[in-house]
Subunit: 323 residues, 2 copies
């Protein structure tokens, strides 16, 4: 197999890139612009192609040139962009995905894996919210609230439509609340789970007015990358959409406790209560990851106790921070 990873230098894409490289592949990374900082360690084992994901000829040429057989479509416009500029966010996330699907259809790509988002489920209310946090499986109703999440859902619909209509092998992965190096800088406010690690690592305070008690499903992006790798290579699948998360509920106070253990003198203060993102709807829910476990062989490798020191170690070696 020869894999193209769109957004392969990004926050989640770079972890997928690393997984493929470590498994012996030489992935092609497609991106709008060149930023090697998150893939420095594997730079000599990838190839990079730059271009616009919404342009058919560009994507087609890259796929043909490299004899691509599998596509991981992780390129997208982050939620902050969709909020600031809805037309741009919708264009990139919807039409970009449709474009990848069209190329895949024309050139007979064996599998496309689309990286979607938890937000397609919308607000986690009733038994799915605090304090019960009933597990959310893939059949949970899709009632996206933010325009970003609506666009991700529309892209999912396109992906699943191409699969059903053209007999293509297309999978959709929905990630829980992700954290990992690079997210704070590139994803803006949504990176609170990265700020709480990166600020103390720089010797700066992390103060948040509320939310220490909110429970959420946090996934370290090395596990996100694992999920992508497994989804690209798994066989005998019965379903097309998979939750990729930790499957357990933790709090921002848990983050704080662990950071304090590893960063002496860390100045972290978090107010009580829920909603650490200060969001207008309840974005906090815990994934049922049974389907990914059973069909993809996915098992989270990184609980907070191990992910946070790993994150801190990465920061010490990395050029990417929130500086």
């Amino acid at each position: 197999m020869k894999v193209l990873i769109t957004g392969g230098m990004g926050v989640i894409g770079s972890e997928a890139t690393r997984k493929f490289v470590h498994a012996g592949h030489r992935p092609i990374l497609f991106s709008r612009s060149r930023d090697e900082r998150l893939i420095r360690d594997v730079l000599d084992r990838v190839e990079i192609e730059l271009g616009d994901i919404t342009d058919f000829a560009t994507v087609e040429n890259v796929v043909e040139k490299h004899g691509i057989t599998h596509i991981v479509h992780a390129a997208g416009s982050v939620s902050a962009v969709s909020t600031a500029n809805p037309p741009l966010g919708i264009h990139v996330n919807v039409m970009g995905t449709v474009n990848v699907l069209e190329v895949a259809k024309k050139l007979g790509i064996e599998r496309v894996v689309y990286t979607s988002a938890k937000g397609v489920y919308g607000a986690f209310t009733g038994i799915y919210g605090a304090p019960t946090y009933a597990l959310v499986d893939e059949d949970h109703p899709k009632v996206p609230v933010r325009i970003y999440d609506s666009a991700k859902w529309m892209a999912e619909q396109a992906a699943l439509y191409y699969a059903a209509t053209y007999g293509m092998d297309v999978l959709v992965l929905r990630f829980a609340t992700t954290f990992g190096p690079g997210k704070t800088e590139r994803h803006g406010k949504m990176g609170v789970t990265s700020q709480i690690i990166e600020a103390p690592a720089r010797g700066e305070p992390f103060h948040l007015a509320q939310g220490g008690d909110e429970r959420d499903d946090f996934i370290y992006n090395k596990d996100s990358g694992l999920g992508i790798y497994l989804a690209t290579t798994a066989t005998g699948l019965r379903d097309r959409a998979f939750n990729i998360g930790s499957g357990v509920s933790r709090t921002l106070n848990d983050f704080a406790d662990i950071v304090r253990r590893h960063v002496p003198g860390a100045d972290i203060r978090i107010g009580p209560g829920g909603n650490f993102l200060g969001a207008a709807h309840a974005m906090y829910g815990i994934f049922d990851i049974t389907r990914a476990r059973e069909q993809l062989g996915y098992e989270p490798q990184w609980d907070l106790e191990h992910a946070i020191p790993d994150y801190l170690a990465t920061l010490r070696q990395s050029e990417v921070s929130n500086a």
Copy 2:
């Protein structure tokens, strides 16, 4: 008020155009191409602008030039196009709507009315399908199946997002199963409710293997136009999304009986059972139109008994047919 009607020469748009003209307005009709056949009777009381609905500058120029205060956005790519060419259908229906919303936002348009589709609700199953056909209100879950309907849903999400985020006045109308002159020619297979009238009117047979007993909510496009007109002019609204239908359930056999009364010797044969569209999912459901009645003052004017002879009379005067 000065109203721009995108798609104003189309199957539904033309009926909206007629309502505005008869109420004393001089609407501006925006279309990709000029086809006067459905608006011949009011041609001297409208103005026509041609252009691409997805192009910001074009739409902006038209809105500024005519001092537009209200926009009816009825331009779209029909479902047959979305099936044949998903990228085109999604581009026109999603990005076209986003473009109209952006122009409306920039230029302070007082109200935007978006013409959506019944298909956003998806399959009508359980109590909402045969044989019980429980009424479907606007809060019904949105689980679109066809890619066309997903795109209409995404456009709705954008419309409602712009309303919520930017304080704009944007409404969404979801039409029941529409029928009326022009639909067969322009909308393809979905026009079975027009074919059953137009074929006998031309002296041709109408034979359908199945579906005579299926119940559905059929709306004559003069009522669709009424719904659009009322939604554009109504005040004191509490909601943003409205079902526009007949609110009652009829069958294709009802159509046949009425056509036979008005077209002596009509050769109509319809097999029994349901699913007259031969669709892969249950597309047949009956709208609860209470909200439109209460807030828009909408009341259907055309039952089948009156709509079908009106349709036949229109055909005799019209150049548009399925010939």
